[in-house]
Point group: C2
Chain length 141, copies 2
């Protein structure tokens, strides 16, 4: 249980998480989702693509956004409504991906919270997009 | 290597994939992304939420969309540009999620392809949204 109640959130508040992508992460992500596109798994194939080598599944970085939102800001009890994702650059094995979510709007009546999310590697944006979530209300005393 | 070149795609063309969510999938997805929100992992906690039990990470279903696009339509060689996701209903362990992607638009000059994607369980939409991808061109003969 970690995070904030709706009433304790403010616009501009942010949280982040850094994860380093491993070979095992790509193998596991492929197994769980069924996305066994060889650009993620097969170095010989990937070396011949525009990427020049294996890249992570874009949805792995999207999972990092979900992790920040679901475990830190707002955190436990948050329900996802929508997420826009714009994939900007590839992520490679060994990259440390820092994911930052920042509150961009709060609708207290509907308990809806907007967040802008950015995943970056060495300061360069690899994925960005906006989320809308329902944040948990503080229980009545 | 599976899928289609840009020149072979047509509006209305679709592909699908069905995956049944397991407990192990949620554990692995949490480990890979860092999203260890207890609503996905802790039955005792989840039973007390509005969902009444553990639910899958929304981004797991998003991964199924990526799988259809990256392995079937357009398939190998496809590059993700953007993905909108609207989470409609929870997905539970044991649910068979059928993900369908349908081509909604093709820009031959820019090699951009739009797809509408729907994840459904027992015919009910759990996740939907639009993707934009770059499809691989047929190599010159």
């Amino acid at each position: 249980m970690a995070g904030f109640f709706l009433e304790d959130l403010s616009v501009g508040q942010s949280a982040e998480l850094t994860r380093t992508v491993t070979d095992a992460d790509l193998v596991a992500f492929a197994a769980v989702t069924g996305d066994d596109n060889p650009v993620h798994l097969d170095e010989a194939y990937a070396a011949g693509t525009v990427f020049g080598g294996r890249i992570a599944h874009g949805m792995l970085s999207a999972g990092y956004i979900s992790a920040v939102i679901g475990t830190r800001l707002p955190g436990t009890g948050t329900v996802y409504v929508s997420q826009m994702l714009r994939f900007r650059r590839p992520v490679r094995i060994g990259d440390a991906v820092t994911t930052t979510a920042t509150i961009s709007g709060i609708d207290l009546e509907r308990a809806r919270v907007g967040l802008s999310a950015v995943c970056a590697v060495d300061g360069k944006v690899v994925l960005e997009g906006e989320a809308v979530v329902i944040a948990p209300r503080r229980p009545a005393a």
